[in-house]
């Protein structure tokens, strides 16, 4: 359902979309079943002259409950267990695992800008050839990146919808995660945690390039772009 609105730009995007599909199917089924039952009962037992409401004493209620409420209740329990298993596997693959990364990129959020420290041609961070770009992130498609996320002042959230990636940046903490771009193109990076009056005007652009274009960028990086507005 999600891929219709937001392309899948990273390796685990399809997993999240799959989980959303599963939850959608299950909840959709139950939603329409219960609404249907409700509207049927409303129509069937609407007040009509000569029609009197029935009185269910405890025994009759219990019988009705066992037949009509216990069964759907247990099936919902099974659906919930399935949703839990799906959720935990997807969460563990993304947030708990840290596959071997080819490169590390440092992301620092501050009141109303993103600073991306790329590893530069040598692929190692904290070396002389690091490339620091403001509000611009250049990645090579197919490479597994690990990110180090920090914040300078208040809470921010590093959100790349196309990667299905979101992680709050907390001042004083360094939070790591990983992603692997699979789609070439130019995408949005948004801040997903309210961070003051500029929360809406701190967009960053993400450029996922083919290996050749990425190498060209590494050669003469267009960093230090002045603020656009």
């Amino acid at each position: 359902m999600l891929e219709h609105y937001m392309q899948q730009g990273s390796s685990y995007a399809s997993q999240i979309d799959g989980l959303v599909w599963m939850v959608l199917l299950m909840t959709g089924f139950w939603f329409f079943l219960v609404q249907g039952a409700l509207f049927y009962l409303l129509w069937r037992y609407r007040a009509r002259p000569g029609h009197k409401a029935v009185y269910l004493d405890d025994a009759a209620e219990h019988a009705f409950e066992v037949k009509w409420i216990e069964i759907p209740h247990r099936v919902i329990l099974i659906c919930d267990v399935a949703v839990i298993i799906g959720a935990i596997t997807v969460w563990s693959d993304i947030k708990l695992s840290a596959p071997k990364h080819d490169e590390v990129i440092r992301v620092v959020a501050q009141q109303w800008a993103w600073t991306f420290t790329h590893a530069g041609p040598d692929g190692e961070l904290d070396t002389a050839d690091d490339i620091v770009a403001i509000d611009e992130m250049h990645l090579q498609v197919g490479k597994t990146y690990s990110y180090e996320l920090g914040a300078k002042d208040v809470l921010h959230a590093f959100s790349v919808p196309v990667f299905r990636l979101k992680q709050d940046a907390i001042p004083g903490r360094v939070i790591t995660g990983w992603f692997k771009p699979t789609l070439v193109g130019e995408f949005d990076v948004q801040c997903a945690e309210i961070c003051g009056i500029g929360h809406g005007i701190m967009p960053a652009r993400l450029y996922v390039e083919t290996p050749e274009a990425h190498a060209a960028w590494l050669a003469n990086p267009t960093h230090y772009l002045a603020y656009k507005f």
Binding site: V108, T115, I134, E148, G172, R173, T176
Partner: protein
């Protein structure tokens, strides 16, 4: 959480004192002895003994005050259950928050500023600042180090 009892029955006399004259002064004396014992701990200086005596005795004193002075032993059960549930909620809150606030590192994250504050150098440093009697917040010196170590941002942001 506490289903009130069915239609009230009068087994429970309004006045508590009548039950049995607990000797309050005796309870008070025991509490003072326990207080004295809990003070010995810091004198001995053995850390684990101090902690054990201090908090163990605190729990015993609390139990005695609650039981004898607050008459929880002859109070209706749902009141005791309510108080225990509230204590249980606090332990639940402690257990669920500890991995984030008490510990300073975890799966895929580390709390840089708290970690720097812990290293002995920061403590020694703080002792120096305090000797000078100016109340500069001790954590402050450690903070710039935290910022530099974590996000080595280009000069743009400072």
């Amino acid at each position: 959480m506490s289903a009130p009892s069915p239609h009230s029955h009068e087994h429970h006399p309004d006045a508590h004192g009548g039950a049995h004259a607990t000797n309050y002064v005796k309870i008070w004396a025991i509490l003072l002895v326990l207080l004295a014992v809990s003070l010995i701990g810091p004198e001995l200086g053995i850390r684990t003994v101090t902690l054990l005596t201090a908090f163990g005795i605190a729990v015993v004193k609390a139990y005695m005050v609650a039981k004898y002075f607050m008459h929880l032993n002859i109070e209706r059960r749902f009141v005791v259950q309510l108080l225990v549930v509230c204590l249980g909620l606090m332990t639940l809150f402690f257990l669920a928050t500890a991995p984030d606030v008490m510990k300073h590192w975890g799966m895929n994250w580390r709390n840089e500023s708290a970690k720097n504050a812990n290293i002995p150098e920061a403590v020694h440093h703080e002792a120096g600042a305090e000797a000078g009697h100016e109340a500069a917040p001790a954590g402050h010196e450690a903070a710039p180090a935290a910022h530099e170590a974590a996000p080595a941002a280009h000069g743009a942001g400072e």
